[in-house]
């Protein structure tokens, strides 16, 4: 068993980065995730593992440093929060186009604009549908605990390198700022493996490596896009991750929720079961892209209705509706703009929507 610590979600990300053998972190401060860089700085990662740590002049600087370092086939990571992630969209589209692996953490806060620094889940569209230009996809992981904040860093790098694709860890201020127990995996030494596509200097007889997202010839660019789309289809086949909670037996309703909203929903489900004799299942997408369509479709068959609980005006609900069509009623509940719904909020919302109370 690994080491157990009590830690903030943001700190767990940082510690996991060091342990997973991350080669470099580039970032720019922004609430509520500045602890990631601060933890790293305090840990002297250059001494612990040789990991590079650099505070960039901006989020655009940071993500482009990621672009450069990822080109060398290194494990690289950045983190930010909503406005900072918006600034990264051009380069994220480049990274996806150039097929570079990297992990990007978004500890979402309330928008739009400067909004507030309180938790939110309103960047779902941005992460999942593509906030940048063009047809690309991020692999999007949605941790719901400090434990998963750590686990997803490891998983994120595995997937990023497996698919040569940027991975977004989409968290929120609750998961980033809360402390929980976390069991860390044992440290993995920084990799010495050379990625065959990496720009490390054109050794000997090998052909030069070029990292680019450009194909001036549209037909070539279309080919490249076809290839990317196939990769995304493969992710949809192989990388769907989810958790089912209270989904055995006959269900009355289904809640679909991720991250912090899933945690809150569990409490509501316990309450409904114990106090109201109502059986509500929870499907928690762990991957937002690829979205757990098959599982939701299966569960949707036998429920009266589905509630999408998200701290947004309703974004993931579109993917649920796309999944189940119009046969099942699908509704959204969520506080948003920085307000975190508590179990009572959600239960009241549920009652009002489905029980007409």
């Amino acid at each position: 068993m690994g080491e157990i610590k009590l830690m903030k979600g943001n700190e767990a990300i940082a510690e996991a980065a060091i342990r997973v053998g991350c080669d470099a972190y580039f970032g720019y401060p922004i609430t509520p995730q500045s602890e990631v860089m601060e933890y790293l700085a305090a840990e002297k990662p250059e001494e612990r593992t040789g990991m590079v740590l650099l505070q960039a002049e901006s989020e655009i600087g940071a993500i482009n440093m990621i672009f450069g370092a990822a080109s060398a086939g290194k494990k690289v990571m950045t983190s930010s929060s909503s406005p900072g992630i918006s600034l990264m969209q051009e380069c994220i589209s480049y990274i996806a186009g150039a097929e570079l692996p990297c992990v990007i953490v978004n500890v979402v806060r309330g928008g739009p604009g400067l909004g507030t620094i309180q938790p939110s889940q309103a960047d779902y569209f941005q992460s999942v549908k593509g906030g940048g230009h063009g047809d690309y996809r991020l692999l999007v992981l949605a941790p719901d605990s400090v434990q998963e904040m750590s686990d997803h860093v490891k998983l994120g790098f595995d997937l990023a390198f497996k698919y040569r694709n940027p991975v977004m860890i989409q968290s929120d201020g609750v998961i980033g700022q809360m402390m929980e127990k976390v069991e860390f995996f044992d440290p993995i030494p920084r990799s010495t493996e050379i990625q065959p596509w990496a720009t490390l200097g054109r050794k000997g007889m090998r052909k030069k490596n070029v990292i680019t997202s450009l194909d001036l010839d549209p037909y070539q660019n279309e080919m490249h896009n076809h290839f990317l789309q196939e990769k995304y289809r493969k992710m949809e086949m192989d990388e769907v991750r989810f958790e089912e909670y209270n989904c055995e037996g006959k269900l009355d309703y289904l809640i679909v929720a991720y991250g912090c909203s899933a945690r809150v929903s569990k409490k509501v489900i316990e309450y409904a079961k114990n106090e109201k004799g109502l059986n509500i299942g929870l499907l928690r997408p762990i991957t937002l892209f690829p979205f757990p369509k098959l599982q939701i479709e299966k569960l949707s068959k036998n429920v009266k209705a589905i509630l999408s609980v998200e701290m947004s005006a309703g974004q993931m609900i579109e993917d649920i509706k796309l999944t189940v069509g119009k046969g099942v009623r699908v509704e959204h509940y969520g506080r948003y703009g920085g307000v975190v719904h508590n179990p009572e909020d959600v239960w009241n919302g549920f009652k009002e929507i489905f029980l007409n109370e």
Partner: protein, 265 residues
């Protein structure tokens, strides 16, 4: 290749053992996409000559900008990446930080380095990243069809200043090189031109020096090349080089600006 019309004498001269100059072998067969007479070709030729002669092909990684040189990776036979517009210096920073033993350079136009990329450019220089920045100042946005660049001269006609750049409206041409020379992070800063053989020879020396300094981790080396954009300027190549001498050089004088970390004069 067609045989050329030469006398007996010449056929005796053109023998492998008499070869004194040919393009570096670090080029692909594919011809440059640049317009006839464009300095980009000369600069990149010179750069590759240095890489080949220094024997560092296996240890050099370049970062291409967005600009006319965006596809330079198609011509140069070395590992390269192609960074978002203006961010080549940031990408080179990321690259160099994880590959401290490699030679890293970015190659950027004036729009790229001194307009959209100003923030990354200044901070990369300020941190003194151990890289070489080659900055090609042709006073215009070549690639997109000749719009004004930050370095366009006053009264210069471009497609976005068809009546000439006006200082009141658009400010003065930005001497970004003099600016970054002020930063402690830059170690060697020098301005060149490649329309004359002497200029090319000097540039070559400057590039060699920069790579040597990079090996010693001295900080950022910065080479500006004042260059022509005959398409954007709407002149023949030869005319554009003249115009450059007459108009660009007085404002962007050639020579070393900072040597051994110290401002010249």
């Amino acid at each position: 290749m067609e045989s050329i019309d030469v006398s007996m004498d010449i056929n005796e001269i053109i023998k492998p053992e008499n070869l004194v100059y040919k393009k570096s072998s670090l080029f692909e067969e594919k011809p440059f996409s640049y317009c006839p007479g464009c300095g980009h070709g000369t600069i990149q030729r010179t750069l590759m000559e240095v890489v080949e002669e220094m024997g560092i092909t296996e240890d050099v990684v370049g970062v291409a900008p967005v600009g006319c040189s965006v596809t330079m990776y198609e011509f140069l036979d070395i590992d390269m990446l192609q960074a978002p517009h203006g961010r080549a210096a940031a990408a080179a920073t990321g690259l160099k930080r994880v590959l401290p033993d490699k030679y890293v350079f970015s190659y950027q136009g004036d729009g790229d380095f001194a307009a959209i990329g100003t923030g990354e450019s200044i901070h990369t220089c300020n941190r003194g990243e151990n890289i070489l920045v080659i900055f090609v100042n042709n006073g215009i946005y070549g690639m997109t069809g000749g719009q004004m660049a930050p370095t366009s001269l006053i009264n210069m006609k471009t497609s976005t200043t068809p009546y000439g750049r006006k200082q009141e409206q658009m400010g003065s041409p930005l001497k970004i090189t003099e600016l970054i020379a002020q930063l402690p992070g830059t170690y060697y800063v020098s301005r060149h031109a490649v329309h004359t053989p002497a200029g090319v020879r000097k540039l070559k020396k400057a590039i060699i020096k920069s790579f040597e300094l990079q090996k010693e981790n001295k900080g950022l080396c910065f080479i500006e090349v004042v260059s022509n954009c005959n398409s954007g300027w709407k002149m023949t190549p030869v005319k554009s080089n003249q115009w450059m001498e007459e108009n660009m050089f007085p404002f962007y004088p050639l020579g070393d600006i900072k040597v051994d970390g110290k401002l010249v004069k």
